[in-house]
């Protein structure tokens, strides 16, 4: 098992820069998520850690050893591909034992190892089947079996659940997480699905356009987004952005937006210009005593909660309120914002202003 440290990692493909300059640290035994929209550089980062791409510059340390320019076969890392990439001309048993054969392990040891792995994954009954006819889930298990069979230093997974249908994905993600917890192996997992990342990850790196936007625990990333991109990418519905022009001082507890005074966590830096007031839907409540008012445009029933779309003087926003609260389309309601949870952003750069809420998070992001 291993700790992985990435320093100033950069990858260019001709004129295109896939990864700008990434630095982060993956602790031993962590389930680590690389999250971002397609083309953000997350898969390239993963492939560089595995050795399938060589970085243009920067360093990769696995257990303190610099391996940046070393070929994949010399890194002792397992990789689970999105399309599984099981060797099509071999049966399940051969697929799983293939990594052991390359190490020159004796036949008896190989058989024992394969037995152990198939027991863990519960695939004993398909061992002698060709991989062509297997179901998606079984292929996934065989791919995992091939990965865990040789006790690698770390696992790389490139959207391993992407090829499965929705129902099975849920089940497989639980199985994966359970497998990780049992083995305690460092795992780096690439996904574009924010829910999957929040559900499974110990830590998340959010990437966009080859740049790391934020790095932290799922909770920190959700509650204390470092940029507007992260705030919008994580959470469904995403964070509401109310745009206004104004001025804030360090130490102040509120902002003036279109003549309304709204609470914010205690600010730690001054700013003047175009600002964005970012609030999550669940931190808005409908309350007639509120002075900030909006008109109900639509209500979406979701069981225990409902999503209410409102039109306000500062733009449209969505609130998540209990579904037993009566809401009628067309009525005007007062809104109350939970000021402690708000993040203010600089509209131009998208960066979050430092406040009491996020100070600990932003410094190492």
């Amino acid at each position: 098992m291993a700790e992985i440290v990435i320093k100033n990692l950069r990858k260019e493909f001709g004129d295109f820069t896939a990864v700008q300059s990434s630095s982060f640290k993956i602790e031993d035994g962590e389930f680590f998520m690389l999250l971002g929209p397609s083309g953000c550089g997350k898969t390239t980062t993963l492939r560089m850690i595995a050795g399938l791409e060589l970085p243009t510059s920067g360093e990769i340390y696995i257990d303190g050893e610099e391996v940046g320019q070393r070929p994949a076969s010399k890194r002792d890392i397992a990789f689970v591909f999105q399309m599984f990439a099981l060797y099509p001309h071999m049966n399940v048993r051969k697929n799983i034992s293939y990594p052991l054969v390359s190490q020159g392990m004796s036949k008896r040891e190989v058989a024992a190892k394969v037995d152990e792995v198939t027991r863990i994954l519960g695939i004993g009954d398909i061992l002698d089947r060709p991989v062509g006819g297997l179901s998606g889930g079984d292929r996934q298990r065989v791919a995992l079996g091939r990965a865990i069979v040789r006790d690698p230093k770390a696992f790389m997974m490139d959207e391993p659940l992407g090829a499965l249908d929705a129902e099975f994905r849920e089940h497989m993600s639980e199985e994966l997480r359970a497998l990780h917890d049992r083995m305690g192996a460092t795992t780096v997992y690439v996904t574009h699905d924010q829910l999957e990342a929040m559900q499974m990850g110990d830590k998340i790196v959010v990437m966009n356009h080859g740049v790391i936007e934020q790095f932290g625990t799922p909770q920190d990333i959700y509650d204390k987004p470092a940029t507007m991109f992260v705030a919008e990418f994580i959470g469904s519905p995403s964070m509401n952005f109310l745009r206004f022009h104004g001025q804030v001082h360090a130490g102040s507890n509120s902002v003036m937006m279109h003549h309304e005074e709204l609470d914010v966590p205690k600010l730690q830096e001054p700013f003047e210009g175009d600002l964005v007031y970012g609030i999550r839907p669940e931190h808005i409540s409908l309350n007639d005593s509120g002075t900030f008012r909006g008109e109900v445009m639509a209500a979406e029933y979701l069981g225990t909660t409902q999503i209410v779309t409102l039109k306000t003087s500062s733009g449209e926003l969505k609130a998540r309120v209990p579904s037993d609260q009566p809401v009628r389309v067309g009525e005007h309601v007062g809104l109350q914002f939970d000021g402690e949870t708000v993040t203010l952003f600089d509209n131009q750069s998208g960066r979050a202003l430092r406040s009491e809420l996020n100070e600990g998070v932003l410094s190492h992001g």
Binding site: S73, F81, M83, A85, Y87
Partner: protein, 313 residues
């Protein structure tokens, strides 16, 4: 898999389609049947008019193909001891004795060496080149591929004279090596292009999985890519073999003795002791066998091979 429905053809449609296929088969097979039967006819039957469909089979053509014979007088013939073998008997019936073996065996062997040699070399080099073009960043890749293709934009025989002069200077005229190199040069563009198409279709993840599993690039190529490309390699090999096996023009020009292949040799049989059509037909029949066997052995791959990649998954 796209969704479309196929309606089962009616029995009349099946009947029409079946008859067309049978008619086509008869048209293409007739010349082959003609060659095959002529090989077993006597010289008189072979040139009989109207052609004899029913005839008394004889192995004279095959005996003549493999031997050289001398005509002898009746007295000389009677002075000889009785024929020891069945083929000597056939020859003596024509007032001749066997003077020695013919060159057909050697020429046939030359064809095998040169045909299979150049096929192996084309496919071997072609696979390596196609893999490199398919997987690596090769500088000027598109230009190189176009250049390779451009070698086939005129008939190879158009450069016969320069090649003839080159071979003479290099001492490659009438050598096995020379012919193997020449046919490889002609076939390599076909091999590279065909195989590149096949290798492009093999997902890179297979090799990457092997690299991750601790294999070197070459091992990944050898153990994972090659088995996947077997279909493509088989069909490419068949195309290459058919070309070099049947090639006539270069063989006439560049070989005369040691390295002469069967195609330029077979017509020369005509001149030996009159127009010996059964011997020519026998030579042609035997000449067909290796390619036929090779193709039948690989036909499973060939069928998949020529339609491979035609349908996107």
């Amino acid at each position: 898999m796209s969704s479309y429905s196929i309606t089962e053809p009616s029995s009349r449609q099946k009947w029409v389609a079946g008859s067309l296929v049978i008619a086509y088969a008869i048209i293409t097979l007739l010349p082959l049947v003609w060659i095959l039967t002529t090989g077993f006819k006597s010289p008189t039957d072979a040139i009989a008019y109207p052609p004899k469909v029913v005839f008394e089979p004889s192995l004279e053509g095959y005996v003549n193909l493999f031997t050289t014979r001398t005509r002898v007088t009746q007295e000389q013939l009677e002075a000889l001891p009785p024929p020891a073998t069945w083929y000597e008997e056939i020859v003596r019936d024509r007032d001749m004795v066997i003077a020695g073996p013919s060159r057909y065996g050697e020429r046939f062997l030359n064809s095998v060496i040169i045909g299979f040699g150049s096929t192996f070399l084309s496919v071997f080099l072609g696979t390596l080149a196609a893999y490199a073009f398919s997987r690596f960043k090769v500088p000027l890749k598109d230009d190189l591929l176009f250049f390779i293709l451009s070698t086939r934009m005129m008939p190879p025989i158009a450069v016969a004279i320069p090649i003839f002069l080159m071979f003479r200077t290099l001492g490659l005229s009438d050598t096995h090596l020379g012919m193997i190199l020449l046919y490889t040069a002609v076939n390599i563009s076909l091999a590279v292009w065909l195989l590149k198409g096949f290798i492009d279709e093999i997902p890179r993840e297979y090799e990457e999985a092997a690299l991750i599993d601790g294999y070197t690039r070459f091992q990944a190529f050898y153990k994972v890519v090659l088995p996947q490309a077997a279909t493509g390699i088989a069909s490419t090999a068949i195309f290459c073999l058919i070309f070099s096996w049947n090639e006539y023009a270069f063989a006439v020009l560049l070989t005369s003795g040691t390295a002469q292949t069967a195609p330029p040799f077979i017509p020369t049989i005509i001149g030996v002791g009159g127009q010996d059509w059964p011997a020519v037909a026998a030579g042609a029949t035997l000449f067909l066998v290796p390619v036929m066997v090779f193709t039948i052995l690989l036909r499973k791959h060939l069928l998949r091979g020529i339609t491979f990649g035609a349908v996107r998954k």
